[in-house]
């Protein structure tokens, strides 16, 4: 049972969006840049995309969960900590160590990742608007948890080689938590969240299994 209702949540979101405006344009622009870097990779693009995703997760943890959401739900500090931790994981794994390499591949996983990222940028806000959650109540990539989670899962599926499970863990967990919230509050546009999370996990498992087999074959033939 959540301690707030749907109208209260969207009232909070409207106030959050209005106060941050026009930061959404900047965040949205950076998300498009991140997707472009994934589709047209260059040396260091994985580090740059990781830094952008880290900034987004940390910003949502601080500005939304800890500053706003904490006003209406006691669980928000834990949510904020999860988002900040995810940002730090991106900074450490992707930006500092360069262990997340990105680049669109035309396999099923890559195409699913591209579809999720484009969905988060375009169809998600459209679905929200159709559900009566037009601006300023619309959750947007970069500064709101749900679309950023879908976008992040999409970009992780655009990774080359193995997809780091520890970078996927919190987005998948959040997709389930927020999906449960959405089910209780009747937020139809967020029904895609758990599908994106569990689907993303399945695609990552498939990719990593294939990568492991390829590595084994390479060792045997080498």
């Amino acid at each position: 049972m959540l301690p707030f209702t749907g109208p209260v949540y969207f009232s909070l979101l409207a106030s959050y969006n209005a106060d941050l405006w026009p930061a959404q344009i900047f965040a949205y622009g950076l998300a498009i840049v991140a997707l472009a870097m994934a589709c047209r990779p260059f040396p260091g693009s994985g580090r740059a995309v990781s830094a952008l995703l880290a900034a987004s997760w940390i910003a949502i943890g601080l500005a939304f969960h800890l500053d706003r959401f904490a006003g209406i739900t006691f669980a928000a500090p834990a949510y904020g900590a999860l988002f900040i931790l995810q940002g730090l994981l991106f900074l450490w794994t992707g930006t500092a160590r360069g262990a997340f390499r990105i680049g669109l591949r035309s396999d099923t996983t890559g195409l699913a990742g591209l579809a999720l990222a484009i969905y988060a940028l375009t169809l998600y806000p459209l679905a929200a608007w159709l559900q009566g959650h037009g601006w300023p109540m619309t959750p947007l990539v970069g500064l709101s948890g749900a679309p950023t989670t879908i976008f992040t899962i999409g970009l992780l599926l655009l990774g080359r080689g193995r997809i780091p499970y520890h970078l996927l863990a919190i987005p998948v967990l959040w997709s389930l938590i927020a999906g449960a919230h959405a089910a209780v509050l009747g937020i139809a546009e967020d029904i895609a969240l758990p599908l994106a999370g569990l689907g993303g996990l399945a695609f990552a498992f498939r990719r990593n299994l294939a990568a492991r087999r390829a590595e084994r074959r390479a060792r045997q033939t080498g």
Partner: protein, 307 residues
């Protein structure tokens, strides 16, 4: 538990008449109808048998329009003779919104009840101080230990607070029928004034040991989740009222559910929560008119379970 009746004071009665004139509400009270009152065993203080909870309903954040709506709900509560308002730091912005509404209505709460809810006993005093600030009160009438969280430590703090006049009564709460064994042990061994627990026409586990024990030990009982979190309405909203509803002057299901609860001799007060003025009037309608006797209570259980 001693049951008494009282009538609406002049201010409340005028407000009720205003509500009736403006809304033509079918559940507006018979004018000057006696209210069902219960006494707090520890002091003999009289309380109306219906109070107001605030879980979810008053957690509206900073939204000025939603806050104004809740002020109207609270105004209706006072107008119909309500006094006890219950909240908790766990309920998000509810305490802040209650404080805002009281300020907007320019009246202090007649009986302010909240809770201490922190695992760390040392944080309890600061949390209660914050609650006093949010409500805009110098002291709480009732401070309860929320869901038995760190109850041993908080109980010591509350005893000191009671001795120094920061609270008048000490209580312990549980909900959803959880931890009844532990609550029973506390009721048997500790000097507390109130317990809060879940009891309604379908969740009646408290009848077995807790309610008789409360009566024996002179502990007032506040009942939460009187509508099972709205589940009773979901199950019965399309069902016509049973024939015996007229026998207890119940005009709607809310009054049936509430009259079942407050007719238990050990119950002091039920605390339904609502975000709507019309529902507040429906709830407060249970404060007047006939209550079911033991025979009708058994029939209510049988009939409602059959539905």
């Amino acid at each position: 538990m001693q049951n008494t009746e009282t009538t609406l004071d002049r201010r409340a009665m005028l407000a009720s008449m205003g509500a009736f004139a403006l809304g033509g509400l079918r559940c507006a009270p018979a004018m000057a109808a006696p209210l069902h009152m219960r006494t707090v065993p520890a002091t003999g203080e009289a309380l109306p048998a219906i109070g107001m909870g605030s879980w979810i309903t008053f957690n509206v954040g900073e939204d000025p329009a939603l806050r104004a709506e809740r002020a109207k709900v609270l105004e209706a509560f006072f107008a119909r003779g309500g006094t006890l308002i219950d909240s908790s730091p766990m309920y998000g912005s509810s305490e802040a919104v209650i404080g805002h509404c009281l300020d907007a209505l320019d009246r202090p709460p007649a009986f302010a009840a909240t809770k201490v809810w922190t695992w760390l006993t040392m944080n309890g005093p600061d949390q209660m101080e914050t609650s006093r600030g949010l409500w805009g009160v110098d002291r709480f009438d009732l401070m309860q230990i929320h869901n038995l969280v760190s109850w041993e430590g908080h109980l010591e703090t509350l005893r000191e607070d009671k001795a120094e006049g920061r609270i008048r009564y000490i209580g312990v709460t549980t909900s959803h029928g959880r931890r009844h064994d532990e609550l029973e042990a506390i009721m048997e061994s500790e000097a507390i004034d109130f317990v809060q627990l879940t009891y309604n026409v379908t969740d009646r586990a408290a009848e077995e040991r807790l309610l008789p024990l409360a009566a024996d030990r002179g502990i007032a009982v506040i009942v939460n989740r009187p509508f099972r979190g709205g589940g009773l309405f979901d199950a019965l909203e399309r069902t016509p009222l049973p024939g015996w509803a007229d026998e207890i002057d119940a005009a709607n299901w809310a009054q049936i559910f509430l009259k079942f609860i407050v007719s238990h001799p050990a119950v002091t007060c039920a605390i339904p929560a609502t975000s709507r003025v019309d529902h507040m009037h429906e709830n407060m309608g249970a404060l007047t008119g006939a209550l079911p006797d033991a025979g009708l209570r058994r029939r209510m259980i049988r009939d409602i379970e059959a539905l």
